[in-house]
């Protein structure tokens, strides 16, 4: 094993862990801010570190600290299996975390004669892995609910369990259809397949190639991750908080974070399988590498524009109203952040000028492209997460029977049909 491969593996692992874990507070913050903005409120925007609020994202870190420092409390009626009661959230959380680890963040790096996968777990059966590990997560929910010795928790656990059983089938079948289409179980290969075009002009994204399967996949993943409108397992209007009624402090936080990691993984899977992964449409990795200077030029033009828009927006919105006189310091924050952004932009501009017009370093170009693809991936991931959140604050929760009806009566037959049609077409095209 070469140094490069070790470096890339370590980098990918760290990147995977960061993307999975660091997005939790960001997602929590996004969830709160978007919810409040949709409802014409402000949401958390006060917590700060030395006057730096970052729009309130610090609040999430404060919450993490709070949850970590909270008293570890067990309800007195939980007599047996406390260890499992405590372990259950860990199962859920780690399953969700592991499922995220097979997502490719950028195209395979070709350094020398080695092909290095930018994947936390560099495997070529990512789809199978995701399906296998994703199924384990619900066990934590079920055990946690059961061991709470609480009827609400039990109901929540039973709902979560049976919902997973119901939606695993359409999920698996739609994935299968995609697997048949792409003819691979490797996520990276799927992304590469999608970098082509379709009818000459459409990007060959999964959602366009497999629209029905794609929608089924999205719906099934919403259900699998317990997001609205499928939050029947929590159902606070009926069963308090579902399976996590009796869980406190870090135990609760594990469930809570597991949910966000699962959402994050689901977003990653959706964009990887249906929205071209780390690719920009019409632009494949080879194209970027061969026409690097024009790519660099494009970045040099677009980046300052974007940064300018962001700074302008920040100047306008990161202020206090006239009626709020005492909560100052936001102007300072804006100034600091703006200068940081500008410096960063200038640096990137410089790098691209150097790479695009003054040298012909293939390795550097490859790395730059990989970093760019990671950026694209992260942006897509966040957009899809925001989509998840907007859906949550738009659609009311389904009733439990409606959830089951949808799963069994509509999604399952449709997924089967989709698979059949796909198989026929694939066989027809290839023969």
């Amino acid at each position: 094993m070469s140094t490069a491969s070790v470096l890339v593996a370590v980098f990918s692992l760290i990147l995977g862990a960061l993307l999975a874990l660091l997005t939790i507070p960001v997602l929590v913050w996004l969830e709160r801010r978007i919810a409040s903005l949709i409802q014409d409120r402000l949401g958390p925007n006060r917590t700060n570190i030395f006057g730096f609020r970052l729009g309130g994202v610090v609040q999430s870190f404060a919450d993490v600290v709070k949850l970590l420092l909270k008293e570890e409390y067990y309800p007195s009626h939980i007599k047996m299996g406390r260890w499992l009661f405590m372990l259950a959230p860990v199962i859920t959380f780690s399953a969700a975390l592991l499922a995220f680890m097979v997502i490719p963040f950028a195209d395979t790096l070709n350094i020398g004669d080695e092909a290095l996968r930018i994947q936390a777990l560099p495997v070529d059966f990512g789809v199978l892995w995701y399906l296998a590990i994703g199924a384990v997560g619900v066990l934590g929910v079920v055990y946690g609910g059961w061991l709470s010795h609480n009827k609400y928790a039990l109901l929540g656990a039973a709902r979560a369990g049976s919902m997973v059983v119901s939606y695993e089938l359409p999920l698996g079948l739609s994935v299968l259809a995609l697997v048949v289409t792409y003819n691979t179980v490797d996520f990276n290969a799927m992304v590469q397949w999608q970098s082509g075009t379709f009818f000459g002009f459409l990007p060959a994204w999964g959602i366009l190639v497999q629209p029905l399967g794609g929608i089924i996949l999205i719906i099934a993943l919403f259900a699998e991750t317990n997001r609205n409108p499928f939050t029947v397992a929590e159902g606070e209007s009926e069963i308090v908080a579902g399976y996590m009624t009796e869980h406190t402090a870090m135990k609760f936080a594990m469930y809570f974070m597991g949910e966000y990691v699962a959402m994050n993984s689901a977003s990653a899977v959706i964009i990887t399988m249906l929205f071209g992964g780390y690719q920009l449409p019409w632009v494949s990795t080879e194209m970027l590498l061969t026409h690097f200077s024009s790519f660099a030029l494009a970045v040099m033009v677009v980046l300052p524009v974007l940064v300018g828009i962001i700074i302008k927006w920040m100047r306008k919105n990161n202020t206090v109203r006239g009626s709020v006189s005492t909560d100052g310091g936001r102007g300072f924050e804006t100034k600091v952040l703006s200068s940081a952004l500008i410096i960063m932009t200038l640096f990137i501009e410089g790098v691209f000028i150097y790479l695009g017009f003054f040298t012909e370093n293939i390795l550097a170009n490859t790395l730059a492209v990989a970093l760019f693809q990671i950026m694209v991936f992260v942006v897509k991931l966040m957009l899809f997460n925001i989509f998840f959140i907007i859906i949550r604050w738009t659609v009311p929760r389904f009733r439990y029977d409606q959830v089951q009806r949808l799963g069994w009566y509509y999604l399952l037959p449709l997924a089967l049909l989709n698979l059949l049609v796909t198989a026929i077409i694939v066989v027809g095209v290839s023969s």
């Binding site: 978007i34 014409d40 402000l42 206090v320 859906i391 659609v395």
Partner: protein
């Protein structure tokens, strides 16, 4: 009679409704519009930034902290009839009565405590008071203290609260 009954077609019968996705799309359109508007101008949001911005629209019917009203001569209007304590659903009013010596009335509270931590601010005491001696029109909605004892309001404290809606109303109506 029968002509007046209008049969409204049940919503959700059409294929489009059953598909549900167009409905979700419509919903997202609404929520996204709000999101977009608010993101572009966050300060237009109606939320008060509370500790700095104090609410200005507390209505006269708002049930704030309690107070005891005064008579014309400035003494307490309360006659310690215990009606408030009787009506109180959380049993948080503690009164001790004594003979009133000044000849204005017969009876007055020797001590009058409201445990505001137990209080549910239902306003029954105000409804029950036959002398208009207790009111919740102080407009005080935020109570702070360092100990539980700080939240137990005594007679003097309750008498010292001012009504928020005009001083001329602070005399007990008889």
């Amino acid at each position: 009679m029968s002509q007046k009954i209008k049969t409204v077609k049940r919503y959700g019968e059409r294929f489009q409704d059953k598909l549900y996705l167009p409905a979700i799309y419509d919903g997202v359109k609404v929520t996204f519009k709000h999101l977009f508007d608010n993101v572009t101008d966050m300060n237009a949001v109606d939320t008060l930034e509370y500790p700095e911005e104090q609410p200005k629209d507390i209505s006269e019917r708002y049930r704030g902290l309690h107070r005891l009203t005064h008579r014309e001569d400035g003494s307490e209007a309360c006659v310690a009839c215990f009606m408030c304590a009787t009506a109180c659903p959380s049993n948080c009013i503690f009164i001790e009565a004594e003979e009133r010596e000044d000849g204005v009335d017969e009876k007055r509270p020797k001590s009058f405590f409201i445990d505001t931590l137990e209080c549910v601010f239902c306003g029954y005491c105000v409804e029950a008071c036959p002398c208009d001696a207790i009111r919740m029109d102080t407009g005080i909605f935020s109570l702070t203290g360092n100990s539980r004892e700080d939240f137990v309001m005594g007679k003097e404290q309750l008498l010292s609260h001012k009504g928020a809606f005009g001083e001329e109303n602070s005399r007990a109506r008889t």
